[in-house]
Symmetry: C2
Subunit: 465 residues, 2 copies
């Protein structure tokens, strides 16, 4: 699977020579660099590109895509490679466009709470650049992903319950089309009814409809007050039910993260946390001093009704950072439980009223499989992950793990939810996409054919042929 078809081979050789001539050291064919660009994180669906090019401008991206289109050679956009669903694997070889040198923040409009960045800017780099402006970009998927990658997978993460996902926070895009034109979608107005919503079409299209090279983003004022709290529960149901009530009351919590007992145990060991290995909620509140106090009091009282402990507060920046770092390291904490094992993440998201049922059924399912698969999630959105461990040396264990993951997707879909809240379809979930969207997939295929008739843009991903 990981080479361009034999027929295209001579063209590929010609292309790599041409790119090396034009881009010099920014066009690399070494095995090490190609290998590094052949996969993301999670289950390693590797696919080696024939060449990795590091463009710096929209025009360079457009020029490369034009050549690839003329020769029917695949083009795969690459950020920092933190995708979890095999998005960056060059399944049919071709050109990997590593956008990491397109890393400039092009403008920050403080008065309008927006900015424009090149696709290769990471979310941490953006927030570092915003320091001193009083503004921040809240979307936080954990990994220090690029803004282009986050837009392409419709990423979200811990803050989405309050600030929305990339869908809500991208105002406009610069996109290179399959035939190598540079187009601009959306704009700087907060709303518009001018024509089809191309911005939302490219957000989440995983590089299969165009290459995102610039992103116009909403920003937010840093809240006057931020505080974080931890609440532990006797059972998982109490924790999830607390979230449901809080959401139904519309309390504008900034983050609500669930960690089950197994995940807490892993995090306590990995990050030296002073908590018990029980089902736990991490909260963060943003607002005015009075607003934060009011939100926290309401939630603490709901939690108490469901067997929650008193809140343990982390108001100082340093304590909060430690807490969220531990949360972000949940995946690595699980991996550290069993050296030599591999892990991958599931990504169910259901209507909030079904969350308890979905989590409890899933937990029983995990027990039945005998696998280690801690639960962690952005439960304010109804989204939770398992980090499923398996021994790569045992094919039957991998099969069991994949069976569990397939049942998690099917369960979420059956409950009116989705097989992926934030990781995307990539190569792993093409079947789940069809199960979830049925005949609507034919419209996605029609759009793919219309915007990329030669199927050069990240082929084999997102929508089945």
């Amino acid at each position: 699977m990981n080479t361009t078809t034999d027929k295209a081979r001579p063209k590929v050789a010609e292309l790599t020579e041409r790119l090396q001539r034009e881009y010099g050291e920014r066009a690399v064919t070494s095995h090490a660099i190609r290998e590094q660009h052949s996969h993301g994180e999670g289950l390693a669906d590797a696919g080696m590109p024939d060449i990795v090019v590091f463009p710096r401008t929209n025009e360079e991206v457009a020029s490369i895509v034009r050549i690839c289109n003329a020769s029917r050679i695949p083009v795969i956009a690459f950020g920092v490679g933190t995708s979890l669903e095999g998005h960056v694997a060059a399944l049919y070889g071709g050109v990997c466009l590593d956008l990491s040198q397109m890393d400039r923040v092009l403008e920050v409009n403080e008065a309008d709470l927006d900015c424009r960045v090149q696709a290769g800017v990471t979310r941490e780099a953006l927030n570092a650049e915003l320091k001193g402006t009083g503004l921040f970009f809240p979307i936080d998927p954990g990994a220090n992903a690029t803004i282009g990658g986050m837009a392409s997978t419709r990423a979200s993460g811990t803050n989405a319950v309050r600030y929305g996902t990339m869908r809500e926070n991208v105002l406009g895009l610069t996109v290179v089309t399959a035939d190598g034109r540079i187009v601009h979608t959306g704009g700087r107005a907060r709303k518009s009814s001018a024509g089809y919503d191309l911005t939302r079409l490219f957000v989440g299209a995983e590089g299969t409809l165009g290459i995102i090279t610039e992103v116009q983003l909403r920003l937010y004022g840093l809240p006057e007050a931020i505080s974080a709290a931890v609440c532990q529960f006797g059972d998982l149901k109490g924790a999830v039910d607390t979230v449901i009530v809080a959401m139904q009351l519309g309390i504008p919590v900034a983050r609500i993260e669930l960690l089950d007992d197994a995940q807490m145990d892993a995090c306590i060991r990995y990050s030296q946390l002073d908590f018990e290995p029980k089902p736990t909620l991490f909260f963060e509140f943003h607002g005015t001093e009075a607003g934060v106090r009011e939100q926290a009091e309401m939630i603490e009282s709901i939690a108490a009704d469901h067997g929650g402990s008193r809140f343990q507060w982390a108001s100082a920046q340093e304590e909060r950072s430690k807490l969220w770092k531990a949360r972000h390291n949940a995946y690595y904490a699980v991996l550290a439980l069993a050296p030599g094992m591999q892990a991958f993440a599931t990504d169910a998201c259901v209507p909030i009223s079904r969350l308890t049922e979905c989590v409890l059924e899933t937990q029983a399912d995990i027990v039945e499989t005998g696998l280690i698969a801690p639960i962690v999630g952005h439960v304010g959105d109804g989204n939770f992950h398992l980090v499923v461990l398996f021994d790569p040396a045992k094919p039957e264990e991998r099969a069991k793990a994949e069976g569990l993951a397939a049942r998690v997707s099917a369960r979420a879909i059956r409950m009116g939810g989705t097989c992926t809240g934030e990781h995307g379809i990539g190569v792993h979930k093409l079947d789940a996409l069809v199960a979830e969207h049925g005949d609507a997939v034919s419209l996605m295929q029609a759009i793919k054919r219309a915007l990329d008739p030669n199927d050069i843009l990240n082929p084999g991903k997102t929508v089945p042929k």
Copy 2:
């Protein structure tokens, strides 16, 4: 323009006979009914359909569209006809699908704060149905439009500054495709990364890519406290600058509406309001008792810095209703200024930092034309309208009015904004769409061809051929 091409005539006759046979009294060819369905509000671009059919189910819509597609006959979806950009005019004749009998609220999920409605449900009917649940649907474009029509034009209105537009509040759709299939997009999860965002593609597509027959909507808990206030200013600049500062501080106001002196004068006369004819802001605050108080105090102090009066409060439901009714009747209040005149609305939306400049330049432009064109707007989003009056008996006055409107669009685009914040493109703004989106329009055209290859769905609208 308002008849199907001569070549299609025999087919149209055959079709209307067949539809009358199948739908009986629900298939109407009388002149009066066809005329009523030939236009929306605003500038009357009338186009008579050959027949108006009143389907009741998804299957009936699908069946009619299938027949029309086979015979290449246009199909135009119709809600209650409150569109302002000529969306419902049957420019090439064909079948008008009046969805007013698809008026059932299919389900309300109180625990998940969502509901599913047929496209013909109006927003007022939905809110009446929600009475007693503690929930409401906030999007309020003024007119009692249908949910299907609001989704199709990506409508918003007075509450959008806090609750977003139809773009943010439609979770999923049932859509009849151009070839007469029934597909479901989106779902009930709050977020998803599963495939292309078809929901956002159909929202705002003005019935040119498919016929929306059902809409899954987000709902919100009724706020614990609501209060409204009026603040009057010595000049327009003070009023607009107040809005800008409030938005930059991120104060979560539910509504901020601007009325200039001319608009206030019209509203005072029309709705017997006890205010002065000065530039005025109407505010509404939603939240907890303490939260509402806090928001209001912050804004009153900002307004005072910009020459605003003390707030005049309307906290009782009845007073608030009177206030917002007056605001919603702004258009009719202007019409009442000069009986016999016609009016239409412009719809500029700009980044908030450019709002004062845009409004003041526009006001000077109005003075220069000598026309009556009061300013009213959802200024929290950077969106404002002129209600431009002209004498239909004087072609040169209409030309002058249209010239003013074209300059308003161009000005908004030049300032990084959009020619339409919420009314849509319809037939009037095809040129402005191209001016705003340039080469990206070619992608819209490609999508139109892919999803409606025979150009039967609302032809002549939204995207130029």
